[in-house]
Subunit: 409 residues, 2 copies
Amino acid sequence: MAKLEGNLVIAQGGGPTVVINQSLVGAVLKAREYPQIKRVYGAVHGVRGIVNEEFLDLTEVPREHLEDVAKTPSSALLSTRDKPDEAYCQEIFNVLKAHDVRYFFYIGGNDSADTCSIVKSAAEKVQYDLQVIHIPKTIDNDLQVTDHCPGFGSAAKFVSQAFAGVNLDNLSIPGVYIGVVMGRHAGFLTASSVLAKKSEDDGPHLVYLPERIFSIDQFISDVDRIYKRYGRCMVAVSEGIVDESGIPIVTKLSERVEQDAHGNVQLSGTGVLGDLLVREVKKGLPHIKRVRADTFGYLQRSFLGVVSEVDAFEAREVGKKAIEFAMTKMEDGSVAIKRVGDYAVEYFLTPLEAVAKVTKPMPDEFILNNNYITEDFIHYALPLIGKLPVCEKLSAPAVPKKIKTTKKT
Amino acid sequence: MAKLEGNLVIAQGGGPTVVINQSLVGAVLKAREYPQIKRVYGAVHGVRGIVNEEFLDLTEVPREHLEDVAKTPSSALLSTRDKPDEAYCQEIFNVLKAHDVRYFFYIGGNDSADTCSIVKSAAEKVQYDLQVIHIPKTIDNDLQVTDHCPGFGSAAKFVSQAFAGVNLDNLSIPGVYIGVVMGRHAGFLTASSVLAKKSEDDGPHLVYLPERIFSIDQFISDVDRIYKRYGRCMVAVSEGIVDESGIPIVTKLSERVEQDAHGNVQLSGTGVLGDLLVREVKKGLPHIKRVRADTFGYLQRSFLGVVSEVDAFEAREVGKKAIEFAMTKMEDGSVAIKRVGDYAVEYFLTPLEAVAKVTKPMPDEFILNNNYITEDFIHYALPLIGKLPVCEKLSAPAVPKKIKTTKKT
């Protein structure tokens, strides 16, 4: 069937990734190949830009410029945290209709898929032909159906390279190190902290995920055990770890502080969980003098220059495929990735409803007990982060001693 | 004069950098060219390894392996925080003498230069010929005499790329962002946060350094002004900022909390300063809803894969030059870098005493008022960080509105 003539709108929503513009540029350049698509518009600040009628015309932007934008981290069309309800989606639809838009593409996570689904319903109600495609992105890797999400591989590469470097730092000046990683409900990114490890004694030695109950007592006992074995201990912990009642550990530990302070102290901000865990280690294991925490924060999702080649390629492909699916199929949907062999991928379209609203936690087979990850996870994630830089420990024979026979401590 | 035959010991001290192994490998490979140098030993864990007689024999380690080690961040020989006193230095000398060491090289900061100087004195007292060379490294860039320090350029590259990425992130979802950068007494690294900026509205908009008094009231008023202008505000702040009495701001703000808590709350750890500044912004400017802080932490000095090509090259050169100076000159000293033109360098030997103990703050001409840096600093620092990745904002014409004429907020 011949597709309707009309305009196209593409937007980016939610937290940025370092390859989200690959999807944007992949879609825009592919869209410009089809004569049925008259103009290619980019909405500024996601769905809010649609409601405000803030569109950029991308139809004639030079390819060279777009190629530079594709390599640049964070949403080039800017983003929004707005989560549209029915009324908001109706507004979106009204604006799309006024601009003769027949193709709507939204690059985002599960909330964006939900928005796509509601906007589509609004169009159907008045029998307005609108094709809606969701293009997946999230560093959390927590979308349903797809094998993995564009954006995750590069964030995972950042986290693995960060831990690989700090592991050597911690080896050179030993102590306890806690790295707090993004991922409120899914532990994929925190688990990626192990991907550059070369041997068992490399850090992180402990990995705590939001999918498992975090017990402070067990944490202290785990750290104690590892520190006794290696003279140091590196911990990767997800920002979203919770206790047995589902209460975030950061809330629980902050409450202890607030109680001391008669409710006057409001501890909030990104570094808190790491600092609170440091305090617990110092309290529980006072003989360990050097205890440090870093919270990787926004660097994980936006750092300029750390990109997985595989992730960048796939992000580009899902953008292109979104257009191809729109032009060749009658369905709406979300572009998803299927893993084929070890390692190749295929792309397919899955219903919007299958991706909307619900997120995907780490599967059980990726989690070892409640303080580490499995080989299955490594096998799953390693192809996604691309090539790692050279990282080689010095190996050389020891020189026989001439004076001392015992080690000074 | 023919140089004495004997062995060589090289060690690495203090906080690691990502290019400190370039200096190590540069020195080791160059040393192996001289027949007077019988064996090339590496001390494990810096001066502590010498006292403990923990040496690795690097004389016959394959070049290919050393080249991989050179590319790897953090001290391959491991490090130490020991600051040797006279007695400790005497112990060092005793061990060096027992192993027939005639050449001692220490890669480190100003404390390491001081150690070199005291060890040399111990040798002179007993008329033992020992040539001592200090090889500079520090991410803080705070050594005297040298134009800049190996290790700084790569850390500065990390900080500038971090801010370049987060700037786009903050542009896409606006708010106040505070990035806390290493540098207890010198602001060079914090100042480097601006090096990837392309226009005035790019962040960071405010830069606070330890060389200037930090006033919380002025900070709040600065943030208010920038936020009104751009609808967002990005701040780079050095971990070492102090008030008018020289008291670190982190101590001052923590005390407020501790006072509330009747002394029970001990706030310590890397994320505290950022979180406390966030609290001050929220208190002082309650209309700003989104206020975030990241503390870059150990990633700045050890991140795998972010290396300034210039820095790596120069770190290698100071290692090689250290050996060449040792074999051709009679003096001991610290290898220093002289900038020639725009941009080339020469290497020279400066007395150990000129580098030992005292550090170098940012010169006044690099600091603008007490909340930003000057063009002079950019001109100074830009050649040191090497090539930056592509980073391009989208530019496209706006689409005329069809429904609305006013902007929804």
